[in-house]
Amino acid sequence: MMDRLDVRKTYKLYIGGAFPRSESGRSYPVFGADRQLLARPARASRKDLRDAVRAAREAWKGWTMQTAFNRGQVLYRVAELLQGRRAQFVQELRDAGAPEPEREVDASIDRWVWYAGWSDKVHHVLGTVNPVAGPYFNFTFPESMGVVGIVAPETPALLGLVSRLAPAVVTGNSLVVVASESRPLPAITLAEVLATSDVPPGVINVLTGFTRELTPWLASHMDVNAIDLTGVPEDQLDEVEAMTAGNVKRTVRARVDDWFDDAVAQSPYAVTALMEMKTVWHPMGA
């Protein structure tokens, strides 16, 4: 009997709803827990990052203009698809050496659903009607910031990524994500999930490659409004934070020891950290 031909997978970037290889043609080896070669995903260049920011900027207008309810529905649908790919995520995490793959995938999906629910609630919780002197209605409400860069933590590769990505995207930001360098495969699978979901192309862009190489370009990019530095190595942090000053980017960084602990790793403040407060003075009759 003849053996089937080995169908090997090419792991690519996710930019603007498409799966391109790196513009540079580069890739890098990723090894499993037992030091065997798992894959050679694309090693994104600064130009790939630039393209991703452009795609994110383009997609932002439509995404942030959708109703909060609609965004919540779209993100809940992603959770449905994540559930359908559960076995694949578990396998990838196990190959990469994650200690509790099943628990991590379940926690990731639960967290995604939890953040999706915040979509149409955050405005009510955070928005205010302000008492002011004079004949005005005065409102304050949170809005999305624009393009947000996310440097995902190295581990846990899926749960850490989801914990930082979901609160950023739920309010209407569009994202450029730098995936875990040593364990990028779950992020690539997540990109495949997003591509088949109702999340519009360009709203979430996923780059794989060298975190140290990509982060400075993301941090200094003048068209990125905020950046999550959770995955930036400790010794590069000062340099990167200085670079964010160029356009006064907002920077956030989660310091989490136990990503499974809901009390620490998920919070509505992770959502509001990447929002801008807008106050409107509306004249009313005397």
């Binding site: 630039r50 370009w217 200094s220 990019h221 003048m222 068209d223 990125v224 670079m243 160029g246 356009n247």
Partner: protein
């Protein structure tokens, strides 16, 4: 080939021009597209890129051709033409502003003694199908108001119907109406159908004495394409070899990114040579391109990718 053609000063007589058209060689479309594509892949880095970006700015015809243009918009655009980046005096002025005749006086007032030219479209832009006397009057009026460059359109209706003589004589008459002003003739290559026809239209316009051939009005779907521009440049090169006259090339319609502008500069250099790498012989008609050129210059200098929030809206 040039020797057997009867020449009237810089121009051909209509019969010799029509005869010349019959001898225009056909264009190898596959080869042309391949060559344009391969030249577009050339990598221009660092100092060369900065030099190219600087030249591209100096070659820009900053354009607004909307029915809704107001004097206020023209004043703002002229300010941007003179100092594209108000915070950086090392950025050069653009070559010209390009607008409708009615707004020429506004631009002339703003650009006095700045070295920035005022280009006006005229001659029933963008169709070119008004009565000829009216079209010539429009040109004369624009020149009288102070425009020193005139962009007219080729009469495609006559040209495509095979009435070459009429199309030719209209350009000759337009050139005459221009007086000292430079004449650019728009071929609207998106409407011409094939490279052979683009090449023939280029030769017709050059023989009629136009100073520039320009590819597009920017008013139709297909504007500037690299192979289309290359086809025109090759026609200009061969025309120079035949007659010794250097005709400029202007690309317009959809050139929005610095990268595209550099690709066109590469085409110019490789086809027409360094002699054409000047605003006197090469122009890019554009509106949004200028900001992208500025962003690329800032990116090269600062090392950080730039965002549109930090550049003036045009």
């Amino acid at each position: 080939m040039a020797t057997d053609i009867e020449r009237v000063s810089d121009q051909f007589s209509s019969s010799s021009a029509v005869a010349l058209l019959g001898r225009v060689p056909s264009v190898d479309a596959v080869g042309l597209e391949e060559r344009a594509a391969s030249l577009a892949k050339r990598s221009i880095k660092r100092e060369s890129k900065l030099w190219a970006l600087d030249l591209a700015i100096r070659c820009v015809d900053l354009t607004t051709l909307e029915g809704s243009d107001t004097p206020g918009k023209i004043v703002a655009m002229c300010a941007k033409a003179v100092r594209p980046d108000p915070t950086d005096p090392s950025i050069p002025s653009v070559a010209a502003v390009c607008l409708y005749p009615a707004l020429v006086p506004v631009a002339v007032g703003q650009l006095k003694s700045t070295g920035v030219h005022v280009a006006s479209v005229a001659g029933s832009f963008p169709s070119g199908l008004g009565p000829l006397p009216g079209r010539l009057d429009e040109i004369r009026a624009a020149v009288e108001m102070g425009a020193d460059e005139i962009d007219i359109v080729l009469n495609r209706s006559a040209f495509l119907a095979g009435r070459y003589r009429q199309a030719f004589e209209e350009i000759v008459a337009s050139k005459e109406a221009c007086g000292d002003a430079h004449l650019k003739t728009i071929l609207e290559i998106g409407e011409l159908g094939s490279y052979d026809v683009i090449r023939r239209a280029s030769v017709l316009a050059m023989a009629a004495g136009t100073d520039f051939i320009k590819n597009s009005t920017g008013k139709i779907g297909v504007g500037a394409t690299l192979p289309g521009a290359l086809c025109m440049m090759e026609a200009a090169r061969d025309f120079f070899h035949q007659t010794g006259r250097r005709v400029g090339v202007k690309v317009a319609g959809g050139v929005r990114q610095a990268k595209q502008a550099i690709q066109y500069l590469v085409l110019v250099y490789e086809t027409l040579g360094a002699e054409w790498m000047t605003p006197d012989r090469f122009r890019i008609g554009a509106s949004t391109l200028l900001n992208d050129l500025l962003m690329q210059i800032h990116k090269e200098r600062s090392g950080a990718y730039q965002g549109p929030d930090y550049f003036t809206i045009d």
